[in-house]
Symmetry: C2
Subunit: 433 residues, 2 copies
């Protein structure tokens, strides 16, 4: 089964928006045994879309198309599809009812432009969109089966899973191939070093394809297996995954694609432990990540985002003298912050950050990229200073936050990070965990 | 000048890697007056690449190709290019010297596989790569001029700027066209309603192209102008932009692409005002957004992410009685939180959120999606309750955070939002700002 993916929209065509839908669809299709041969992007131009649909119909068995199903004048995909298939647009009463129902449920009036979304090419099979107004549809153009989905990622993903994949499985019949994938998430090694550690994998496992993906600040190692026999493909993947885990040692934090905050959350929950956070330079990012995990209120109690010195003193009990003596970015300060937030929140663990995310605020002694991380446990209070010279403010915040969570993770595992500890003022030292 | 973009590689084809190169190239080309009509992706397959090159040669004036120039066996682009152009691969001595020099500079031995990178299609013009081993090259296939660049983003970007853009400007000569773009960011209207308000734009400004982009939770209205005369294109854009701003009224929060947190930050700075935030359901996201803005420490003092009731009481001084009486998600509680964080931080404004982001924790009276927002100003303390039924936990957090910042923005503008105010327990009411 050969598939192509078409994304439509001027936003993607002009580069204003990065096309993440196509990658998501490709990964999903490959994982279910469909070979994706091409992705194509065209703009909101009915002729360009029509032309692209006709070309794809000549090459592929199945095609996934995203975008252009909305209510506005630049949503032209149904029109282009009907032209390419040589049929008219007709009102789909069930689609209209579904759209009306959607607005009723939301308690909002439905506008005329939404009515347009119920116009589908004649002969198309409507695909329900349970979380939006734009219905999708399935339509044959020549011998190729097209699935048209909305461009809104959450809607597209849900409809891909519920409406497209079951139909594709039915289409394949006996010729199924398997493309299982494993994601091994690591933190703390540069991509080139991670790559070098993996030399020899392809000799050891010739049927496994290796992909390295810098999903900053983590590095994901992706292993792709392929075969007609599902069990054999999974076994091979399992063995290759163990090989990789040995090479990457403690830098691996998950082997199921879980993000760092979910891993830390699971460890806290397992140990019935709770956490308080004191953030300066990370500005709330650690708390934001932690609270992205459903159920995090079970272990995450409180975070103090203390940007001002005043807040550090008043809320966390940091000593004014220490701030005057050391400045806010210092091991002593994060030690007091971690201890303070542990005390204020009543949590088992206190985690604290103070640093310089830039672009301004750096000095010779404490350049932009310097961060101090404090960790208070039931037994001790520790602090480290690190330096990350790469990237902009956003990336530095991410690197600082990830490093702090990783320190906590290793502590919870009873396998604390042995960091070298730069002296105050040691300045430009590079990063190593 | 019509351009197409081709990205090659199994990582992109299979969706393991999102293709950000094509968006970057498209945006750069459009900004310099080149119309990008299509992006295409194929895998590391010499036949597929050759076929794609031939198709593009028939349609486009210029093409940018990324990937497949590396030293390994799956780097096949030069081979495919030579086939598509009907020429042989020949050793480029200057390229070999450059690669040798690169390794010398790095103090690393050069491998035989790197020698392969000096083999270019006959008649190609080598393009220097100052920061990597893979040279690029320029080659005509038919009447279309192809630029082949490495897939590594930093190398690609540098070579695009230094090697490609100057040559494109020369190619265009007098035929330069201009494609200025304007981004108008709005919040508080659903996409379909925003679209309806813009009906008539294309009649009024036939030369302007309209794009609506749901960059959740904001809606961006993009206006694309086009013309040979730069001043005229910009004037037209300006007038269309004013037309849109009138139609969208107070829902517009920026006309230069600035995010909400930057707009709020500018208003605070202008008024020499400061801010403290108390976040429950938003979990640190408001603080994270605010601190993404360089210099935000000038006005952002402190945020208390009080996930536990204990923290609300201890840090913000919320009354235990009130929590027992009303529950944590209530107008009275966010009023106390906003007042408390204003007092604790010493800021001019206090902003507070408490709600249910889900997936669990909802009740009939307060379903998942309910949020209360409190705002303390030097004059008053206010609170509202809202309900957002859409999306998952992440989206609800984003919607809650954006709504809170928007309330503050309107307050700072002296034009406060007049929200209807549901009674406690009014339940499923939809959203309107």
């Amino acid at each position: 089964l050969i598939a192509e993916i078409l994304s439509t929209g001027d936003e993607i065509r002009t580069g204003a928006l990065i096309d993440s839908n196509s990658a998501y669809i490709a990964e999903t299709l490959q994982a279910t045994g469909v070979f994706v041969s091409r992705h194509l992007t065209v703009g909101d131009d009915v002729d360009a879309i029509e032309q692209a649909l006709k070309e794809i119909a000549n090459r592929a068995d199945v095609a996934l198309v995203t975008g252009g199903l909305g209510p506005t004048v630049d949503d032209l995909t149904p029109e282009a599809a009907s032209r390419a298939a040589g049929v008219s647009l007709v009102l789909d009463r069930a689609a209209l009812t579904a759209i009306e129902g959607f607005f009723q449920k939301m308690g909002r009036p439905m506008s005329d432009s939404n009515r347009k979304q119920a116009m589908l090419p004649e002969g198309a099979l409507r695909l329900d969109n349970p979380i939006g107004t734009a219905p999708g549809f399935m339509l044959y153009i020549g011998a190729c089966r097209f699935f048209f989905l909305p461009g809104v990622p959450t809607e597209m993903r849900r409809m891909l899973a519920e409406q497209v994949l079951p139909r594709l499985s039915a289409q394949e019949g006996g010729n199924r191939r398997y493309y299982p994938v494993r994601t091994i998430s690591t933190f703390g090694l540069p991509e080139s070093v991670a790559g070098e550690r993996l030399v020899g994998l392809t000799e050891e496992f010739p049927e496994i394809t290796l992909g390295l993906r810098a999903k900053f600040p983590e590095i994901q190692i992706k292993l792709y297996a392929e075969g007609d026999d599902e069990t054999r493909a999974h076994d091979m993947l399992e063995r290759a995954s163990e090989w990789v885990a040995r090479k990457m040692e403690r830098h691996v934090f998950s082997t199921d694609g879980s993000p760092m905050e979910a891993v830390v959350g699971r460890l806290l929950r397992k140990q019935k432990a709770t956490l308080g956070v004191a953030e300066s330079c990370t500005g709330g990012l650690i708390s934001h990540w932690l609270t992205e995990v459903p159920g995090s209120s079970d272990y995450f109690l409180f975070s103090a985002v203390t940007y001002s010195n005043e807040a550090k003193i008043r809320v966390l009990g940091v000593e004014e003298e220490s701030l005057l003596k050391f400045g806010a970015v210092h091991e002593e300060i994060v030690r007091q912050m971690a201890h303070g937030v542990r005390r204020v929140s009543g949590a088992a663990y206190g985690l604290a950050t103070s640093g310089i995310a830039g672009p301004d605020g750096g000095t010779d002694e404490k350049p932009v990229g310097t961060v101090c991380i404090g960790l208070a446990t039931p037994e001790k209070v520790e602090a480290r200073r690190l330096f990350f010279p790469f990237g902009d403010r956003t990336r530095k915040k991410q690197m600082f936050a990830m490093t702090a969570l990783n320190l906590l993770r290793r502590e919870l595992l009873g396998d604390p990070v042995e960091l070298w500890h730069t002296n105050p003022g040691a300045g430009h030292r590079s990063f190593s965990l």
